[in-house]
């Protein structure tokens, strides 16, 4: 594993300044943003500056059977970069260059360490947009979000990370450099490797360059907030909007517990006696169509007995959004720790899911605030706990098990956007079955015969 010779070789490959070996430095790489999973301190952390260095590291790791853990900014919510079996952490923080923006082909080619928000600043100069916007986009890297296939608030209309990746360069676990995809809209050559590697959570190869798809940034937008006395009415509003062929960029929901907590914390003027609120934003290139979509939404809200506020100015828009932005911070104030899940159901099952979560909260005597991307059926039941309270933690685990069970029974999925990692690996079989797990193992073994790339994540190697 990692001994003096290994570290010396790392220093030769990466340069002395790009290798961390002191225990205190290494402890800071023992976690990501996932609560309640094991931590482990890596044996060494390296900062590559080019693909060749990563290739050399792979050769070294294969010889010594040392596990490798790629890491972006470590804001992930399923344990992806945590070095479970010590080994080497590759931090991509120094491979953070935007290599090229091609406004005519609508692409950006980037190194994996580029921060998502920085990419958007760079492409905005051309009036373009890279739509995936996970909550952590001010910190999270493109590479990390590609590996995790991150979602965000714009998923309903614009899709998620996998819809915006056109090709990449990957260092394979056997050391070869493999480039696939490119700048063409159409490309059916070979297997669709892009979709294999997006969301592979660092288990199949190390992504070293990414071609992102860009779109023209929408010029107009209209935001509104709607309040409902019944969950069912909020749920019906969501499906009615889509049924009327309006696809809002944002269609977010907050339940009563979340609304009350936000109001208590941020005093943004929300009514605390309602059962749910929806934050809706429509956008587009033409003013008329955006206004038509907004009017349609208002009509549907009224039909479903909702009351609403519509933002006329940018500052009014900001104040509507303030409520949604305050959701997590507000909930996080209540108890020392928050467990944020992302079980996802078909849009039409939204209300059933919300009610099931409320029942689970009652059953296990837990405080759960639920908010999330209603249009995607992607909810974030946020369970507030005190990690020092053993009894509460036990109830938490039971509640989480049950939330997943119900999501699956409603035709949903374990994870809408956070990934499997270590956090959900034990549930994987419940969704994809024996044959699914076997298929994943075969793919993993074919590409990574030594099982050195992010072992213990996503693919359960043993039953």
């Amino acid at each position: 594993m990692i001994d003096k010779t290994f570290i010396e070789k790392c220093r030769n490959i990466f340069g002395r300044d790009n290798v961390l070996t002191d225990k205190a430095e290494l402890i800071a790489y023992s976690y990501d943003a996932t609560p309640g999973i094991p931590r482990e301190t890596p044996g060494v952390v390296v900062f590559p500056e080019n693909t060749k260095q990563i290739q050399e590291l792979i050769f070294l790791a294969r010889q010594t059977k040392t596990p490798i853990y790629p890491r972006g900014a470590g804001t992930s919510l399923s344990g992806g970069p945590v070095p479970l079996s010590k080994g080497v952490v590759i931090s991509f923080q120094k491979m953070n260059k935007v290599i090229e923006i091609d406004p005519d082909n609508l692409t950006a080619t980037v190194q994996p360490g580029v921060i998502i928000a920085d990419l958007n600043v760079a492409v905005s100069k051309h009036g373009l947009l890279y739509p995936p916007d996970p909550g952590s986009m001010a910190t999270a890297t493109v590479g990390g979000s590609v590996a995790e296939n991150s979602g965000g608030l714009r998923g309903l209309k614009y899709g998620v990370t996998k819809h915006y990746i056109m090709g990449m360069e990957v260092v394979m676990p056997t050391g070869e450099v493999f480039r696939f995809g490119g700048k063409t809209v159409k490309n059916v050559t070979a297997y669709d490797f892009t979709h294999l590697f997006v969301g592979s959570e660092g288990t199949l190869g190390i992504i070293t360059e990414i071609i992102c798809k860009l779109i023209p940034a929408p010029k107009y937008r209209k935001a509104m907030i709607a309040f409902f006395n019944k969950l069912e009415e909020a749920g019906k509003t969501v499906t009615d909007i889509v049924r009327n062929h309006v696809i809002p960029a944002t269609l977010e929901i907050m339940d009563k517990v979340t609304i009350q907590t936000v109001e208590n914390y941020a005093k943004v003027g929300l009514p605390t006696d309602v059962e749910a609120l929806l934050l809706i934003e429509v956008d587009g290139m033409g003013q008329d169509s955006v206004l038509w979509e907004a009017e349609k939404c208002v009509e549907i809200i009224k039909q479903n007995n909702g009351s609403y506020k519509i933002a006329e100015t940018d500052s009014e828009r900001d104040s509507l959004w303030a409520a949604r932005r305050a959701a997590l911070p507000a909930l996080a104030q209540v108890k020392p720790s928050t467990v944020l899940e992302d079980a996802t159901v078909p849009r039409t099952k939204l209300v059933e899911m919300l009610i099931a979560i409320q029942n689970i909260a009652k059953k296990y005597n837990l405080m759960i605030g639920t908010f999330g991307h209603a249009g995607d059926g992607n909810l974030h039941p946020t369970i507030l706990v005190d990690p020092t309270d053993k009894d509460e933690m036990e109830r938490l685990h039971k509640a989480v098990d049950e939330i997943f069970e119900i999501a699956l029974s409603l035709g949903g999925t374990l994870s809408g956007e956070h990934g499997i990692g270590v956090a959900k690996i034990k549930y994987l079989k419940n969704e994809i079955g024996r044959s699914g797990v076997d298929t994943m193992r075969r793919i993993k073994q074919a590409l990574d015969p030594d099982n050195i790339l992010n072992p213990g994540k996503l693919v359960p190697m043993e039953d």
Partner: protein, 436 residues
């Protein structure tokens, strides 16, 4: 000295646990931390240091581990992370608690011990500063216009002190020596203590002069007690809580001798020490309640003028393009950022041009710019680049420590821009009105 009856996080690192546990490791702090932004290492940012604190409490690493000590001292205490934290983790308490625990275990390094010992004795400190002012030529050669550069040999002691380093000249006479202790207004609106802070006292007396002038124009009786001493922030951030407590108590004693209604500061760090840190470090002592009482009376000059008194609007014209830099402690601790801009915009002739990131740290961090000059220089450069794109004639700020750093940075990285304090602008406008 009164023994603390309540255990605070300065006495016992275990009390930090409740604070550490609140960190979700979400990483929001990484988007705003000036040090992480340069170094890109997890241990540079609040989240990483919190993980280190947790490891110490779990006995996975010793508090006096050499690398850990270095990492814990690699923080500007700018509080940017606290502004971005969704869980409201009070990282300032965590970092000071850890530093304090380090100092308790290891003691202070020799240089700090000598310096802080001097601070503890205000008379010695004052004499020392004046002696240094008289002898500054031994170390610093004059560049004219009250500027000084380090002599060649200093570079060997600290790499930052190279040929491009520049500081304002130390005044031979301190501000508090020359100003009358009490300046009565004829029909006073109220009375206020002027807490000068050391930088104004020794380096920027002009800021003090202008503050007095502005307060006189507004009919405020100004008390500038000679017995005030350092606010304690410089020693506190180095983990020397004992000295900080002593300085705080002496300042409170001084405040109590006057019957002033308010305390005015012109330095974000002094202000935040008086307003926020004193009640924390004096927790459990018989000074706690007194600290809380005075805390409510502390105002930065800009919010004092706009929120407390009937303020005489500046009418004199000052033809200047100005950009405003938010001092970290003024904005992120005292939450003062609108008022200085309001004041600047009131002055006829001034055009305020905002830079891209006005609240990005300047890289001073008290002594951070000397102890961690590599990182600090890069922070300073990005600040200066931001200032330059505004093409402003002057960068204005509410903190003398920032003024020093901006002055040095602009000199080093070549910006043709003056550095001034908000009260300088205000006084300039009042004076221009007199002349016209």
């Amino acid at each position: 000295m009164t023994m603390a009856s309540v255990k605070t996080f300065f006495d016992d690192i275990e009390t930090l646990k409740r604070e550490l546990i609140r960190c979700m490791k979400c990483g929001n702090c990484m988007s705003v931390c000036p040090i992480y932004n340069i170094e890109k290492k997890e241990a540079s940012v609040a989240r990483g240091k919190i993980a280190l604190g947790e490891a110490v409490l779990k006995d996975e690493i010793n508090i006096d581990d050499e690398t850990l000590v270095k990492l814990i001292f690699n923080c500007l205490v700018c509080k940017s992370c606290m502004m971005a934290c969704p869980s409201g983790v009070r990282f300032d308490r965590i970092i000071l608690g850890l530093r304090s625990a380090i100092v308790k275990k290891k003691g202070l390094p020799f240089v700090k011990k000598a310096l802080f010992g001097l601070l503890k004795n205000p008379e010695f400190f004052d004499k020392g500063m004046k002696a240094f002012a008289a002898m500054q030529g031994l170390f610093l050669k004059s560049e004219g216009d009250k500027k000084r550069k380090p002599k060649g040999f200093l570079k060997a002691i600290n790499p930052r002190l190279d040929e491009k380093f520049i500081v304002p000249e130390l005044s031979k006479e301190s501000f508090r020596d020359k100003v009358n202790e009490i300046i009565e207004a004829k029909e006073p609106q109220c009375s206020a203590i002027f807490f000068t802070g050391c930088s104004v006292n020794y380096l920027y007396p002009q800021v003090g002069d202008d503050l007095i002038y502005v307060l006189q124009r507004n009919n405020i009786t100004v008390i500038t007690p000679k017995s005030q001493n350092c606010c304690g922030m410089p020693v506190m951030v180095h983990g020397d809580i004992e000295t900080a407590i002593e300085l705080a108590k002496r300042n409170i004693d001084t405040f109590e001798k006057s019957n002033a209604q308010y305390i005015i500061t012109v330095c974000g760090s002094c202000g935040s020490a008086l307003k926020h840190e004193y009640p924390i470090i004096l927790e459990g002592t018989d000074y706690e309640e007194r600290a809380k009482k005075w805390s409510g009376k502390v105002y930065d000059i800009s919010s004092f003028l706009l929120k407390v008194i009937k303020f005489e609007k500046p009418k004199g014209k000052v033809e200047l393009k100005v950009t405003y830099h938010d001092s970290c402690h003024l904005k992120k601790s005292m939450k003062v950022f609108n008022e200085p801009r309001q004041l600047i915009k009131m002055i006829p002739g001034i055009k305020l041009i905002e830079m891209k990131k006005p609240d990005a740290c300047c890289g001073s961090g008290g002594s951070y710019h000397l102890t961690h000059s590599d990182t600090a220089l890069k922070i300073s450069k990005s600040k200066v680049d931001d200032i330059k794109t505004t093409e402003a004639d002057a960068v204005c700020t509410g903190c003398p420590a920032c003024m020093m750093e901006l002055f040095e940075g602009l000199h080093r990285f070549g910006g043709n821009c003056n550095v001034i304090h908000t009260v300088n602008l205000l006084a300039q406008s009042y004076r221009a009105e007199n002349q016209s």
